[in-house]
Symmetry: C2
Subunit: 313 residues, 2 copies
Amino acid sequence: MADQIDPGFADIVTAAARIAPYVRRTPVLADEVHFPGLAFKCENLQAVGAFKARGACNAVFALSEAVARRGVVTHSSGNHAAALARAASLRGVPAHIVMPKGAPSIKRQAVEEWGGRITICEPTLAAREAVAAELCAQTGGVLVHPYDDPEVIAGQGTALLELSSELTPPDVVLVPVGGGGLLAGTAIAARTCWPRVRVVGVEPAGADDAARSWATGVLQPQLSPVTVADGLRGALSARTLRLARQYVDDIVVVSEDSILAATRLLFDRLKVVVEPSGAVPLAAVLEGKVAGSSIAMILTGGNVDLDRLPWAK
Amino acid sequence: MADQIDPGFADIVTAAARIAPYVRRTPVLADEVHFPGLAFKCENLQAVGAFKARGACNAVFALSEAVARRGVVTHSSGNHAAALARAASLRGVPAHIVMPKGAPSIKRQAVEEWGGRITICEPTLAAREAVAAELCAQTGGVLVHPYDDPEVIAGQGTALLELSSELTPPDVVLVPVGGGGLLAGTAIAARTCWPRVRVVGVEPAGADDAARSWATGVLQPQLSPVTVADGLRGALSARTLRLARQYVDDIVVVSEDSILAATRLLFDRLKVVVEPSGAVPLAAVLEGKVAGSSIAMILTGGNVDLDRLPWAK
C-alpha cells in the first residue's frame, strides 16, 4: 500500500512548521532587465548551500525521540550528506554517512564540519547500499534516503510553499530533476497552492532517465550519466516516478553548453554562487524549451569548486 | 554656507520614497555557523550590482523636469557610471559619462547597456574633470559627482534606513570607504535610526586617505592607491570628511590578504558574488579590528571579473 504513505499537501504544511527553526527562509530574486519574467527562489543561499537542508531536517525531526537517539544513516556523496549530518547534529543524534572512495574532499569536509561519521566504501551503488544496510543493522539507526522517502519529499516541498506566499502565481515553475524528490515535493505543493501553474522538471540530456521514465511510465535506468550537473546524476525511484506522473506537467532536457551558460549568467547577472545542477532550469529558458511570460525556478544549490569554476577551460 | 546643504535624516527619508520604484529592497543574509553575529545587507544584489544605484537614482529623480531634460554628466570608471546611466535611462534623459583611456571593457559595456554616452579622456583626474566640465558647458547637463553631492549621499543612506527596519540594532555597522558617500549617508541615517550603534568605516591599508583625514581632521591626499579593492581608491572630499568627522565613530584599515580572504569566504560560505571593495568590512572582522557581538555590514557591490577571480593566482 505504498500510495498510503505518499506525502500530500498536509505533510508539507506540517514539515514547514517542523523545520522552521532549522532552515532559512531564502530570498526570491528577480532582475527584469537581464531576466525578464523570471523569479529565482534562492535555495543556494539555504543552510549547507542547498535545499537538501529542508528534507533532511524534516526527516530527522519527524523521528520519535527513542528512534532518533539511535541515529540516522545515509549513502550520498552530495549535498544530502552534509544536510543530514547537520540535521542530526541539530537534534543531537549521530549521523553515519557512507561515501564512495574518491569523493571530493570538499564534500567530506562538509559532512565532518557537522560531526557526521564517514564510512568509505567502494564506488558502486551495490557497495553503498550494502554498507549503509550494515550500519543500520549495527547501530539501529534509520536510513534517510536522499529522495525516496516521504518525509524528505515533504520537506523539499516547503520551498514551493514559501515561494507561493512571496510571489503571485507564475505561468510555470521549473525544478531540476535528479532523483525526483524536489520535483515531487514541489509538484504536490503547487497542485494546492498554485493549481493553474504548470510544474516542469528539467534534466541534463546526459542524465535523462527521468524524462524517459516520465514519458513511458516505466522506470528507466540511468546507466552512465555524463553531465557537469553532478547533483542530477541519480535516477528516479518508483515512488518519485509515481508522484511525477501524478503531479508533474512535463520534463524537458537541456544541453551541457546551456547548463554552463546558465551557470555563468547567474554568477554574472544575479550575483549569486550557484552549482550547475541549480542552473538547469535557466538553461531550459535559454533554450526556449519553456513557454510562459512568468516563470519561477528553484536555484537548488551553490556548492561549487571556486578554484575551478564550471565554465573555466 | 556649505553646511546648510549637507544632507540630514529627512533627506534620506525623502530619497527612500523617491527611489523606491527604481531600486531593489535587497535581502539581509546571515549564517550563524560560519559568520556568527554578522548580518550582511546585500547591495551586491542591487540593480547594476552595487549600492550606487541608490545615490544615482536619487540625484537624477530629484532634478526638476526642465533641468533633467538637459541630461546628466559624470566622470567615473566604476559602478557610479553604470548607475548614473541607468538612472538617466529610467528618467528618459541623456547621460554623458567621461571614462579614462584603458577603462576595462566590462565597465564600458555596463554604461552602454543603459544607453550612456561615453567620452574617453586621458587617465588623469585633471583631464577627467576638464572633459566633464566641458560636457556640462556644451549640453547644459548637471554634473552628478560619485560622492561629493548631497543627493547622492542621501540616496546612499537609504540602505541603512532599510536595514534598520530589518534588523534589531547591532553593536556596530561597518561600511567600506572610498570617497565617503556611503559612509556619510549610512552614518547620518544611523544617528537617528540606531543612535547607540557605532558606525565604523573600513578602508584598504593601501588606500588609507580617509583614515588619515578622519584622524587628523585635515583632508589628506590619496596619491598612489595600491589595492585590489578598485572601488575604494578615491579620496574623501571636504564634504564627506566633514560628515565623517561629525557622524562616524572610527575608520580602520585592513590588509590586502584579509580583503582577498574575505572576498573568497563570501563566495564560499554566503554564496554570493562580491567584489573586493564589498568585502573589506568582513576583512576588518577577520583581522579582529572590530569589537562587538553583533555586527552589520554593507556588501557594497558584486561586479567582478569572473574569468579572473580576485584570489586566483
